[in-house]
Symmetry: D3
Subunit: 274 residues, 6 copies
């Protein structure tokens, strides 16, 4: 993925840098936080430079998951000026995106931390970046739902439509699925909650339910199965949802709509001409 | 890229769908806009399904760049239920992201349309998705700046630091660069504007300048060279910037911070059992 | 994978065929079973030829999972003679291996079919062929255990050694793992069975246990958790293991030691010279 | 190939190990032979770990081709516990398969070692693993036939059918093929032996011949050309075939039906917490 | 390889064509020979366009290997104007290079056609293009030597130096090599010819020998082994070499120094606007 | 690209070297120039060996761009004999080709060095090798034109035909193209020169013009725009073209028809048996 991103940006060559910077010019540079943020993406940031030039070194002053104040020096780089300038934008593009996700996740987690509930991500991720984005959610204090279609069973509305109803769908899954995975099913109202429970579902996903219905669902399933709330939850409503007593809240916005956080990379001086 | 995204989501197989849906079940499905948006990403959406199964067909009711109202049916799909369910999330992940960019771009373009100025994107894109994101900017009514380091000369602050000053940097570029490319240079104040002009720069990038300085810069360079405003411009300030008379305004947020637009895909009926 | 296999066999070209067979010679060929077998691998067999030449057609007379008697015609191919001869060995190499696995699995399944037990495969597969081999196990009537390290939790002896004991290991997994997966743990004697049960394990893997101990384990866990027997089980001992009442029996030999089943491909006549 | 195999097994991550084993835990582990065997696959076993983590070291106590007794320590590994546990299964899957082939080959070679005959492998190999499997045959004391369709001429029954007869096939090959390769042709009876000889074939492949016919063929071609026996030869009949005086015996079973040999990897102690 | 070449040329997009040519403009174009030449590369030329756009059609008026006069129309293309303009240069780059090789080979073949000798290529090919270049040599009337290090034995001066002499080198090869390949060895004078013959070499490569020594070598080996002349042979000296009676002449220049032949592609009219 | 080239040459293994050279034999070898030449390709030559075996070292006695006399030792290699022999041909194939281009370019540059003109390459390069070939042109003293279709606007005859004339084509480009690129257009006579000038073209490509017309064109555009001469220029005519006063001369032959320069690699002694 790093190679694809570098290829995309550098292509047949960095014209400006090759005009401006002599070969074998060694420099020191500082990575600065331009706003308050939660850091995520240290390793991939470093690897972008390592991919271009194994001699570039990054010294970090914060860990992933740390809160960083605006203006702080996050890391210091040393190495060949051409390598640093050619890798700069790609490395920053990863870092600003992942730190955006971690920062937004932390903001939500703060709002619900006094409740017994886990904040989950979804599969609504940027194509090609899922592993990194799910990592950033964890750095921000969230938990990961399944990674893809391959490591969990979640029966959604379209599956139910094709299977012929919640009861048929859950029954079939319990009979034929690997017994090593739990069976989760999407439900929209209390009738469906009841049907899913009776069919033996292990987890219920309450989709777009109002707060009152959620509370009733929680009461209905208490200690029988797990509940996940999902759909139309945002930073203003999340605390009310947490209060209902569900076990999980999942939000697609964590990965698909978190605004980037701003960093800059500044060359501070020329170390020596090698 | 589509293959990577499908591999990332499907991996060793879609467990739920293979449990729920019999092979060779043909269905019809509808793609719905869940909020007002500008559409972008039709082709890659269709190709996701075509990659999984060439027999899935998508019939579109809107073009990329069209304004779509909440609740409208954007497209209709027909084909094998398994293929449609397996490709659904990846296809939607592309579409929601690209339509997010197009919608946000359109919003900005509306604010500045009465001025003689082009809205440009930047290289602050999601790694691996630059071509698509720049396409979405155009669908929203924006223009593309260079695609990468390979197709344009832009001398930035770090280059100037290493080259020993604006004058030296621009002079060297004019002497040694390919004469088929224009030379752009980043400037921070009116002194630098003057120096860059004298050294022969073809385009000036006004970085993080206040409105008053921008206006003076415009007056100073009138008809001599082109001006691009960049840095800290958002939807509230963009119109004021446009009024200064610069030729271009560039905004990284178009590609790195546009929130996703919401779509859903709903199976409407089973066409036949083949 | 097909491309790799064809590249490996054909490399810089099929010297013999290009000497012997004129371009555009159309032939009909028959695929024959040279011994009794359970068929598996139809689709990949066909795709080998389709990869070389989309115009080669395969007509099948049996389904995957069918019992085929020695001497039967399994399929008929038509197409360009060069394409058929160049793809022959690779296609047969897939088919003989997968049908070997299906046949061996069927043989074991027959021995235990009157007991309430599922025969499982393991991760002891041929590198690169896991998905195909697990498919062949299903064609033979077996079930699949997890596909890899990513879709299940199985705490093995080495994990326990590092974690500091069964109790610690299971407790940590129950506390921190995704609640969407069941926790399985390897146990060697009845003490470990007890410890694992108390710590809350969802499935126990009885590793290399003698029959008597297995029976006691079954009695001890009845209706509390699931049991999988594994290690040193072969076609002579499998029925005795099944009788103990375990829920699953897993055998690595299904995928790593099933002998290939013999097929041949014979050109029966030249259809026409195009 | 190693990367494919690791990807196949680890996918989106080793859930169990990341739950059980703290980062930066250093361990020592022992690779044990669980049955008598001929070792093959040292290098690829080591490389699996090197691919995951270049700091894991393997110290070997046997060479490929060595006879190893059940219970012997074959190698000792040191390194990060997570890396060793994540790579374990893939590394063992290669080793058990290749040592299976070497062990089976050695068994056959022992039976024919007093005769002037070379044991050859065939192109009946596992797709994707041909180079490794042919290497294991050599470790067991066998010889390699051609690697693929690109480095030898072998006119088989289907080629003869299309070319219009043995005479035409061999004559054409002698006239048009590169003079740097010998021409081998498949024959089924003594008439075909005679025809092939007269047409100038350099090597004859005696396909599925009975012992008596083989002896006559040997007498007929003495010192004129080379003879290879093939088809339906197994460990019980191979010595009788060797006695006939043929120059080569080829057996597909060496690579497609050799049962795996059993190894285990045991963590023996924690070296230190780094 | 085609994809690499298109990627190299088109990269992030064909700026000129997307500015100049409306989508869905259908055109007819003619491929013209701008000098006398032997054609080679039809298939890859067509495939370049097929890779970009399967709907572009190429109708050819000559076969590979045909002599084409300056000014002749070699082929006619029809299809989308953008596809044809984007693929034009890459397709021509293949064709001009391969036709250059075929034309140069034909020129040499003409000079030696009355002698009993085959003109061979070497491994001195352009990296990545060997299969195509060896194909072009055949189109020009030459023969192929081995394709690479994998399909032939050629003991060169450096091998002899390491092995300890011609006798040792050839003896070892005859003893240990596959008996399905002939053994060729490089010799520099008549003593070495004699040594190689006695050691049993199947082919001798006469390296940089003068004509007189070659003639003596031919006399010495008559009917015992094959002879290949190589080194410093050019179009002026090749006929004299052929007269010596060697069996093969090999020339690296066929593939590494044949000048390109000139073609042009001209759009002749717009077929219709679709 | 190096991996492709090594794969192409070595394939399933270097048969000769594995027969002739014992493992772990260390040697010293010399790279010799067999004719006068300008060196280009040091880095890729070294990397071929590094790809096979990171322990092979190359010590260079010349820089890329240096004039090297016949017989000179260009570099010295040390390392494992098998690695050096396996990589030899591929490394030399790159070096002989790139040094051929650099040598030919230097020859042309010498002829025009007293004129104010830059020698340019074109897109007529060997597929897959463009970046290397353009690098070799610079090593020989030439300049690079655009790298591909993505980094420059050049309106050629076919574009003009589709766009409906020079005036329409240039006008559209000036209106719609990125303002960061200059617009170049192909012209064939003085009328077209005038039209292109009036439409605002930034650079004119004089295609296949006679010397007299070129001189008139130079007079006509003096100080208004840049001029590039192209088409049918060879080493005999290039000086006359330079005298006309054009700003650039471009020659496809630099990359598509420069004959290779000859090198040899000789093992000089065995350093030690490790």
């Amino acid at each position: 993925m790093i190679e694809t991103a570098l290829e995309e940006d550098i292509g047949s060559g960095d014209i400006t840098t090759s005009l401006m910077v002599r070969k074998r010019t060694e420099v020191k540079a500082r990575l600065l936080a331009k706003e308050d943020l939660v850091l995520a993406g240290r390793e991939i940031f470093s690897r972008v430079f390592a991919t271009l030039d194994p001699k570039v070194t990054c010294t970090w002053f914060f860990e992933d998951g740390d809160q960083v104040k605006k203006g702080k020096v996050v890391a210091e780089l040393r190495g060949d000026a051409r390598s640093i300038l050619e890798g700069e934008r790609v490395a920053l593009n990863f870092l600003q995106h992942l730190s955006g996700i971690a920062s937004f996740t932390r903001e939500i987690v703060q709002k619900i931390k006094k409740y017994q509930v886990r904040l989950l991500d979804t599969r609504k991720t940027t194509p090609g970046l899922r592993a990194l984005e799910k990592y950033a959610v964890k750095a921000g204090g969230g938990y990961n739902h399944r990674f893809g279609l391959f490591d969990g069973i979640l029966i959604k509305e379209n599956h139910i439509a094709v299977a012929g109803g919640i009861k048929q769908a859950v029954t079939r899954a319990k009979a034929k699925a690997s017994r090593f995975l739990r069976v989760e099913v999407e439900v929209n109202d209390l009738d469906e909650v009841r049907t899913a429970l009776e069919a033996g579902a292990d987890v219920l996903l309450l989709d777009n339910m109002d707060l009152d219905t959620m509370r009733k669902a929680v009461k209905m399933v208490k200690n029988k199965t797990l509940l996940e709330a999902s759909g139309n939850i945002n930073k203003d409503t999340v605390e009310e949802v947490a209060k209902t007593g569900v076990d999980f809240i999942s939000m697609g916005a964590l990965t698909h709509s978190a605004p980037a956080r701003d960093f800059s990379l500044e060359i501070v001086n020329m170390v020596k001409r090698r």
